[in-house]
């Protein structure tokens, strides 16, 4: 059986205000119910007014995910009853999301099929203690972007890579802090299995198991692998898994059933009459596109091409914490004229990352001199590289200058940047 996996990613927008009211959206460690008003409490008569900053941020994310930006969009009401949903409906988007179909390329070259990116409001938070339920409405009404992918993942590693890429993009574009521990980013996985024949014919399974509220990449990986085993065992014993919602239980190291879905829930969607439809001009869309920052994959190409970093080193600077270090890397690389050395210091010496650019530059230069290899050591490295790359050497001999650059790069890699490039060039020319 083959895995069929689709994702829903929720990302809290780091806009100043909530999605539909004037309350401040930065609620981290705030006193419960201190960031509330009639609108996000769902009081009778209070009305929603859409937050344009959040709309713009959702559009930015959609643009980076190569989505169609819909010129007409509107908000819908999605009805269900739950204590953390004060109006009895959530303002979301159903028929005309802000962004339609898109795609994102993974490192392997595989393109993730994105169905939509839309905007909605977050719910409140319930606490259960001593047989009582308490509700904190601070979270109620915070702008939430939902990214929905097609059931296009056949491997959980691809899904994890996609989520990490989305997290990086959200941070680079200043759309969200995307901090999973703070609940800024939450994952849902729709997991089912199909036969190889179904896969070939492009037929989707008739059921799906939704694993909700996954709050780390590791838990997602574990949950999907657990489901893969659980569902395989069911099929092996002649059963088809039930359509249901499950949750990841870290203590049990497994998913547990939460709600069986015999039929799809009827949310009775209809356009929210409190919010006029939205129209976006092509000028607005073009202007916003121009304002997009350099994206992780663009940065990676630039780091490899302009600075001669190894792809693996460049990867460090385009994902996770590394993104924040890019400006410092560029400054120090310029000061020292040694990008590879600078990258090595920043990657390997976590303690120095907070130092000033000047101090870092000193460190890079010092490191290079203290570790500079002797000429005899270098000659050994150069000979090794020449033996290992006969074709490139032949090209160089044939007059291809760039072949030399490649050989220098190989030597620098072998010496882990502990050599003076000019000495290497001299040695290479002599030897060849």
């Amino acid at each position: 059986m083959k895995l069929v996996l689709g994702l829903e990613i929720h990302i809290q927008v780091n806009a100043k205000h909530k999605m539909f009211c004037g309350c401040l959206a930065d609620i981290w460690q705030a006193e419960p119910n201190s960031h509330t008003c009639p609108t996000c409490l769902g009081l009778p008569g209070a009305l929603p007014v859409p937050n344009f900053e959040a709309v713009q941020k959702a559009h930015k994310l959609g643009m980076v995910l190569n989505c169609v930006i819909n010129t007409n969009s509107h908000f819908d009401r999605k009805h269900y009853f739950y204590p953390d949903l004060p109006k009895g409906y959530q303002i979301s988007q159903y028929k005309e999301p802000l962004c339609g179909r898109g795609c994102l390329e993974l490192n392997s070259g595989y393109c993730v099929d994105i169905e939509r990116v839309h905007l909605e409001e977050d719910t409140a938070k319930s606490f259960h203690a001593d047989g009582k339920t308490l509700i904190d409405f601070n979270k109620s009404g915070i702008a939430l972007i939902e990214i929905v992918t097609a059931p296009c993942f056949g491997q959980v590693t691809d899904a994890v890579e996609f989520c990490k890429k989305v997290q990086d993009i959200a941070r680079v574009c200043d759309v969200s802090d995307a901090d999973m521990e703070k609940g800024n980013m939450r994952l849902e996985a729709n997991i089912s299995l199909r036969t190889a024949e179904m896969e070939q014919a492009g037929i989707l399974p008739t059921y799906k198991v939704e694993v909700k509220n996954i709050n780390s990449f590791r838990f997602m990986e574990k949950a999907v692998l657990f489901e893969l085993n659980r569902q395989t065992e069911l099929f092996d014993s002649g059963q088809t898994p039930k359509q249901e919602n499950r949750g990841w239980d870290e203590k049990k190291q497994g998913t547990v059933s939460q709600r069986t879905k015999e039929e799809a829930h009827d949310y009775r969607y209809f356009p929210d009459p409190d919010i006029p439809p939205l129209h976006f001009s092509s000028e607005y869309i073009a202007k916003l596109k121009q304002s997009l920052p350099e994206l992780p994959h663009q940065l990676k190409t630039r780091l490899v091409k302009d600075y001669g970093l190894k792809p693996a080193s460049a990867e460090f600077f385009v994902s996770g914490l590394g993104i924040e270090l890019v400006p410092k890397f560029e400054r120090v690389a310029m000061l020292t004229n040694d990008p590879v050395g600078t990258a090595n210091v920043l990657i390997n010496k976590a303690g120095l990352r907070t130092s000033s650019s000047e101090d870092l530059a000193k460190e890079v230069v010092q490191k290079r001199s203290s570790h500079t290899l002797t000429v005899s050591e270098l000659t050994e490295v150069v000979s090794k590289v020449i033996v290992a790359n006969p074709e490139v050497v032949a090209n160089y001999k044939g007059g291809k200058e760039s072949a030399l650059q490649f050989l220098v790069g190989q030597c620098m890699r072998e010496t882990q940047g502990k050599a003076d490039p000019r000495t290497i060039i001299d040695l290479l020319k002599q030897t060849v």
Partner: protein
């Protein structure tokens, strides 16, 4: 001499400006009339006597200090009644529904905030309000408390809200002026939602001039209501010379329970002609289509808007919903459900577009459109319970205006069997000044709006 509570807003302001009487005296006169009549009429849920007197005292001091203060505070010191579906900070607001009993809003609606300089009493229809023209009849709904309070002079003017005729119907049956402004003209923020796409806050007054005056105070874009709109309320004019009045045949072809009503409206049209207006025929969809459209859309929105009263936060359990509310929620949940949505909700929205387009076309030939407000006389108390869509049928001629979001005013234009008859004047978007000018010209030449209701004449 006319009693102070019987004055219009215009007369009251003139008197206050000239210091012929005080706001405290105005309020006392209204309170005395409430004490005398409200036991019979039952218009008020709550009378904020102390608060009103304190506000009046403060107003009098400001007026003494600066008689021109009305330029900044146009309704300073004027006693008004307010339908109980406007959120009023610190004052129980129930929308006359058991489900909200005990609910005290922690915030103020935009409209009542703008009227803060006025003096509010609190009106509604928790119990059966009586029609001041005949205490055995209903005043019409759902702003019936507000209309009855104005008609019986228990306040100078009142605020109501109109979803599918709820200002115009009671204005018609109680013989007063009721304005449903254009949708979006007046902020809905703080008004407890019925059908969000047609709810319109609006005034119930003794004259068209008063309605225009109050509208100027309450109109305007509100940053808290995304559906509110900008645009000035234009000034009134004093003539209908050259005005093209559209007469929709389909509105006169409906089944009038009392045929004399139709004749009364036709007579009123002659009054306009005499004043220099021209009558033109306009084609509008028969109002019965608006009944179907309205029923689907209103129920859909009601079912959604009432979902927040889930029994968790507002003190009352869901059992407190009345049968009519339950019927509406169930029908609305049905018309929005998967598989039926397109057949009902989507189709209704398409017909709604046809209604809007129909009016657009009609307004290229006419400046305003005139028709009857109600096809029948006020009904006996208790009759409304017998048929679930009785309201829609009697409000039939008001529903097209609601669906198209147009400004409409109902004014008294004659009497049949001792009951006042209402005529509605429909304007294009932003056309309140046009319909109110025509209404004012009509009131300048007639006295139907000045009659004292027969049901309260003999009461002591």
């Amino acid at each position: 001499m006319t009693k102070l509570n019987e004055l219009t807003v215009k007369e009251s302001i003139e008197g206050l400006k000239a210091q012929a009487f005080t706001s405290v005296e105005l309020v006392q006169a209204c309170l005395a009339e409430i004490a005398r009549l409200d036991g019979y009429i039952k218009a008020y849920i709550k009378v904020l006597a102390e608060e009103a007197l304190a506000a009046a005292q403060a107003a009098d001091e400001q007026i003494r200090a600066d008689p021109e203060i009305f330029n900044q505070k146009p309704l300073l010191g004027i006693p008004y009644a307010c339908k109980d579906n406007y959120s009023t900070k610190g004052i129980e607001t129930t929308a006359a529904a058991n489900i909200l009993r005990g609910y005290i809003p922690p915030y103020e609606s935009t409209v009542t905030e703008k009227l803060k300089h006025g003096v509010s009493t609190d009106a509604s229809d928790f119990f059966v309000t009586r029609n001041p023209w005949d205490l055995s009849k209903v005043p019409g709904g759902s702003s019936g408390g507000s209309a009855a309070a104005v008609a019986s002079h228990m306040c100078t003017f009142a605020m109501g809200s109109d979803t599918g005729g709820s200002i115009r119907c009671p204005a018609s049956w109680c013989g007063i002026t009721g304005l449903k402004p254009m949708y979006g003209r007046v902020s809905r923020y703080g008004l407890i939602s019925m059908a969000s796409s047609t709810d319109c806050p609006g005034p119930l007054t003794k004259t068209a001039w008063d309605a225009h005056y109050v509208l100027q105070v309450i109109a305007g874009k509100d940053s808290k209501d995304a559906t509110s709109s900008n645009g000035d309320v234009k000034a009134l004019t004093n003539s209908v010379a050259g005005l093209r009045i559209g007469v929709p045949k389909s509105y006169f072809a409906v089944d009038f329970e009392t045929p004399a009503i139709k004749q009364t409206i036709l007579d009123a049209l002659k009054t306009f002609e005499k004043a220099g207006a021209t009558l033109v025929n306009v084609d509008l969809l028969p109002p019965k289509y608006a009944v179907a459209v309205y029923t689907v859309i209103q129920r859909s929105e009601v079912s959604s808007n009432l979902a927040r009263f889930d029994g968790i936060r507002f003190g009352q359990s869901r059992n407190a919903f009345g049968y009519e509310a339950r019927r509406r929620m169930m029908l609305g949940a049905y018309t929005l459900s998967a598989g039926y949505y397109d057949e009902y909700y989507t189709k209704a929205q398409k017909v709604r577009t046809l209604i809007v387009e129909g009016f657009k076309k009609a307004f290229s030939a006419a400046d305003i459109i005139v028709g009857p407000t109600m096809p029948n006389l006020p009904v006996p108390i208790g009759m409304l319970d017998s048929s679930p869509i009785f309201g829609e049928l009697t409000d039939m001629m008001q529903l097209p205006g609601s669906m198209a979001g147009l400004p409409v005013v109902s004014i008294p234009c004659g009497f049949v069997s001792g009951f006042p008859i209402g005529m509605q004047l429909i304007g294009p978007h932003f056309g309140e000044a046009g319909i109110l000018s025509a209404a004012k010209v009509f009131q300048d030449t007639t006295n139907f709006h000045l009659q004292m209701p027969s049901g309260i004449k003999e009461l002591t």
